[in-house]
Amino acid sequence: MKPPRFEYAAPGSVDEAIEILRDAPEESTLLAGGQSLVPLLNMRMAQPRVVIDLNRVSGLDAVERTPDGRIRLGAMVRQRRLETDPVVRDELPLIAEAARHIAHVPIRTRGTVGGSLAHADPAAELPATVAALGGRLLVRGPNGDRAVPATEFFVGALTTAIEPGELLTAIEIEPPREGAGWAFGEVARTHGAFALAGAAAVLQVGDAGQIASARLALLGVGSAPYVPEWLEEMAVGEAPDEPLFRRIGARVVDEIAPLDDIHASADYRRRVAAVLTARALRDAANRSNGRGSG
């Protein structure tokens, strides 16, 4: 388990990294936390000509508020920081909660936000969570910056909207409105293992006790995070009760097409997707505006 020979570049800035990428966009790979890439290299499943190490690139590891009120997470922010950073914990508690489910502390200490999103493993926590929050991903290439909504970013398993020659620099997320509830839940064979299925939800209960807004994303049930676009139409104005959440879960089951693997059948994933959907919506509703005990 040793990688084949490759060229190594360690740029100091994003623009320098893009310069290097320009030379061989199809044969280069970006190294962030290395938690997926290094095993792939060691297994010789990835055999890039050039590995561009982003760990010395400055300016990619900030957590900051943008002037328009979004939270901006640099691509090289370590996953562990999502659990501990006060801004993330206050403004995006759903992300802080989801991060706890990513592998184990040593892995999160190396693994980065951008690495996980750009790798786009269908069972990963961050893509679905960012999708549930309606975040957008900032990508820079030779032609400058562009912002891609999460729902368009994840194209398929291990496939994103990043074009050859581009790199992901940050994500921006608008914090849910004051009083919105949130929840994250997943089922995995063991603590820290890839999820068999999972759900992230953000839900607001209005003053009159009806659902004012709701967003949901599931992981592990398809090639990319599943975001039910019909959710608002089905949920807004309704009472946040178990029958509704179960109906939503049932509809999710109709829409997804999970696969069998050695850990769980497709049927299992469908059933659990319904359960996790209902639980996430219920827990989010309970957290909304101090309702219930949460």
């Binding site: 388990m1 020979r5 064979r189 063991t190 769980a264």
Partner: protein, 783 residues
């Protein structure tokens, strides 16, 4: 009076290991050392038409590429030391002409670095002709199955059939009030260590001698088998074992890589090291456990079990490895467990398939036997409408009738009812039976599972082993030496693999010699220094057989110490005592000499020795047990099942057991916790699935799921103490015990939790997906 045996003492190696200073094969280097990697068969079964290594050999830094065609003509096949009457399944250091499982070593590539060796491996071109293959024992038994050894004219895929019977089984079944029959499937699992295997070989060409460092539990057996394969006298090979990061039986085997790396070192004239990488470890290290078992039990209405019969099929993989089909045999003969069942019959068929060979893993065949027996006893209880514990109690061999022969073995001693009763007492003290009802009323699915095991430990009487076909002894030999300064060196053939045996042996030596354990250095893992051990470090022999040998050698030395000290003190040796390195006249502690005084007399100042006393102060003694020792215990698991997700969590776990005299409770408890973790791994997580053709469906830890601390219960553990009548000191083994009863208890608990659904779980691992499939197929029956 025993001062050290029984005492809680931290292991002396802990600081070294926990701070990362232990030296394993991967830490060893030799001047001029080069690196080996293996090219392995990607096919479950294929003929090697040709291998072209010319491009690899032309690469800079590549030293050699050896293939099956390069092996010496007279190289022996990899030996099996457990000959129970089976067809031969010869396999070599590197596959010759054909590979019979995916992962079989086909070529070894040696280069100046592991990177270069892996680069060169990618350039070795093998022309394969894939052959029909079979990845499942049931399919292998079908009439039209592809033959794994068709080239050796086998008519089928059955390597051996073993049968044993006692009593009159057929009549007992005819006369039974109740008969239950169940079929079980137990998956492949393996002894997955933190440290993978590794070998470092160096030849001294001047004298044609080989030094081999290997991560092995069988230091002398490895040497002897290597000598046999290479055709060298044993004393031309020195085998050394550095720190081992877990063995679990997988390192009890003698592997093709040990031979191949030795040959590569000879071919290159360089020290050659190979460290198994994690991915190849899943295919290259022996697998274990896989069986399907049909078992029938006959009973009277009052719950007396009158007969049991079992039909076992072991999926042995592509060859019978170092221990043959030993584990399958052990499953078969343990079919009566701890019960007084007068009539029993087993048939076990060792079936070959195109999969990694099966071998040893903590528990050998006993977890399988325990699972099928204990689960069937539960079934019988349900059939009879009896309480599960009552049914067990009714059929236990009562204490007064021990020792008692079962199907094959003679169980030695103990009080099974007392052990089970204490476990049930703990269950009630902790309120679980009541709370189970309350929680069920709340709609939660909480279950309690019970199992009872015994363990075949302290293997074993050498004659019995030889009679059975084992080409090894069952004794252990220890050498104890008091050095001139009074410190003690203890030499043992047992290997320290993280189980702490050197600490236990020190404690035994300390008591029997009269020194502090810290004054004792234990030397292991070097055939040029340590005495021969009959069987190696396995079969839960360390404390019992090794301990007894140490006890004998220590006492022999102590006798001489007393003679010398008596002479120095002008006292009768019978009036002396030794403690903490002081030898003194009983009742007069001021009349004393130190162990150092005696040591100096023995080596340096013969003038102080009694007339006629030989110089030197050491003894070597063997111990060959007259019988096995049989520890036993109860497992009670309390679990909760989430019927919406199929997740299982532990609410409690009670473990009450008896392993005779306990040398160091901390070590015993650690052994049990670790083994229960592996039993829980068997019940819920670990599996090595193949497709129908024998193509592995696993390759990394993403597929092979090991439980982590987060999944495991905190054990509530209690020890009982019935000294073994067969072992001086009364120790019984304990190393494997935790793996044996835990799968049955955990699965029983899940089944109990799912009682409203009436499910029957006869297959492991019980995954969330499997649970939902079972729950979903049935309607909830009103409680």
């Amino acid at each position: 009076m025993p001062a050290w045996v029984g005492r809680r003492m931290p292991r002396r190696e802990d600081a070294e290991l926990l701070t990362g200073r232990g030296r394993f094969i991967g830490d060893l280097g030799r001047s001029g050392m080069v690196h080996a990697v293996f090219l392995r068969s990607p096919y479950p079964h294929a003929r090697i038409v040709s291998i072209d290594a010319s491009r690899a050999l032309a690469m800079p830094g590549v030293r050699a590429v050896l293939t099956g065609a390069d092996l010496p003509e007279d190289l022996g096949a990899q030996p099996n030391t457990h000959l129970f009457g089976e067809r031969e399944t010869p396999y070599f250091a590197l596959a010759r002409e054909r590979a019979r499982y995916a992962g079989e070593p086909v070529a070894v590539i040696v280069a100046d670095s592991q990177y270069l060796a892996e680069d060169a491996r990618d350039e070795v071109i093998v022309d394969w002709e894939p052959l029909p293959s079979v990845g499942d024992a049931d399919r292998a038994l079908a009439d039209d199955a592809p033959l794994v050894y068709g080239d050796r004219d086998w008519p089928d895929n059955v390597a051996a059939t073993f049968e044993q019977e006692m009593g009159d089984v057929d009549s007992a079944f005819d006369e039974a009030d109740v008969v239950v029959t169940e079929r079980y499937r137990i998956q492949r699992q393996f002894g997955c260590s933190l440290e993978t295997r590794g070998v470092l070989a160096e030849w001294d060409e001047n004298v044609d001698e080989l030094t081999l460092w290997t991560s092995s539990q069988i230091v002398h057996i490895a040497r002897d088998l290597l000598a046999a394969v290479l055709g060298l006298p044993e004393h031309r090979i020195r085998v050394l074992v550095p720190r081992i990061g877990g063995g679990f039986g997988a390192k009890f085997h003698f592997y093709p890589e040990e031979t191949a790396v030795a040959l590569a070192a000879r071919a290159t004239g360089r020290p050659v090291r190979w460290v198994e990488d994690r991915m190849e470890s899943f295919l290259a290290t022996v697998h274990a456990r896989e069986q399907r078992v049909e078992i029938s039990m006959a009973a009277r209405e009052d719950g007396t079990i009158t007969a049991v019969k079992g039909d076992l099929v072991g999926d042995m993989g592509a060859a019978l490895h170092t221990v043959g089909y030993g584990p399958l045999w052990l499953t078969a003969v343990m079919i009566t467990n701890v019960y007084e069942i007068p009539n029993a019959r087993v048939r076990a068929r060792a079936v070959v398939t195109n999969k990694t060979p099966l071998g040893s893993f903590r528990g050998w065949g006993q977890p399988q036997a325990n699972f099928v027996v204990e689960r069937t006893v539960d079934r019988l209880a349900r059939e009879l409408g009896m309480d599960r514990a009552d049914l067990r109690r009714r059929n236990f061999i009562p204490p007064e009738r021990l020792p008692r022969k079962s199907l094959h073995h003679t169980l030695d001693s103990g009080d099974y009812p007392r052990c089970l009763d204490r476990a049930l007492e703990l269950l009630d003290e902790r309120g679980w039976r009541e709370r189970q009802h309350e929680l069920r009323d709340e709609g939660r699915h909480v279950g309690i599972g019970i199992s009872f095991y015994t363990e075949n430990s302290a293997l074993g009487p050498s004659r019995m082993l030889n009679q059975g076909g084992v080409q090894q002894g069952g004794y252990d030999i220890a050498r104890v030496r008091v050095e001139p300064g009074g410190e003690v060196t203890l030499y043992t053939g047992l290997c320290e693999m993280g189980q702490g045996v050197t600490n236990a042996l020190s404690q035994v030596c300390a008591d029997n010699l009269g020194v502090h354990p810290e004054k004792i250095k234990v030397v292991t893992g070097d055939t040029s220094q340590v005495p021969y051990t009959g069987y190696g470090t396995g079969a839960s022999r360390g404390a019992a057989v090794g301990g007894a040998a140490v006890m004998r050698a220590s006492r022999k030395v102590r006798e001489k110490v007393m003679r010398i000290a008596g002479h120095m003190l002008e006292a009768n040796p019978d009036d002396l005592e030794a403690e903490d390195g002081m030898i003194f006249v009983r009742g007069t502690p001021t009349a004393a000499v130190t162990m150092g005084d005696v040591g100096r007399a023995a080596y340096l100042r013969a003038i102080e020795l009694p007339e006629g006393e030989d110089p030197g102060l050491e003894a070597i003694e063997a111990f060959d047990p007259p019988q096995f020792a049989w520890p036993y215990g109860a497992n009670i698991a309390v679990v909760e099942v989430d019927v919406d997700t199929g997740e299982v969590s532990f609410l409690d776990y009670i473990y009450v057991h008896d392993c005779g005299t306990i040398v160091n409770p901390m070590i015993v408890e650690g052994q049990i916790m670790g083994a229960v973790a592996q039993g829980i791994g068997a019940a819920l997580f670990e599996s090595l699935p193949y497709d129908e053709e024998g193509q592995p469906l696993f390759g990394t830890f993403m597929e092979y799921v090991l439980p982590t601390a987060a999944e495991l219960p905190r054990l509530v553990m209690e020890h009982q103490h019935t000294p073994s009548p067969n072992i001086p000191g009364g120790m019984k083994g304990v190393g494997e015990a935790g793996t044996i009863g835990s799968p049955a208890a955990v699965v029983a608990a899940i089944e109990d939790a799912l009682a409203p659904y009436g499910v029957r779980i006869n297959e492991t691992p019980v995954t969330p997906s499997a649970i939902l499939a079972m729950v979903g197929e049935r309607e909830v029956t009103p409680a």
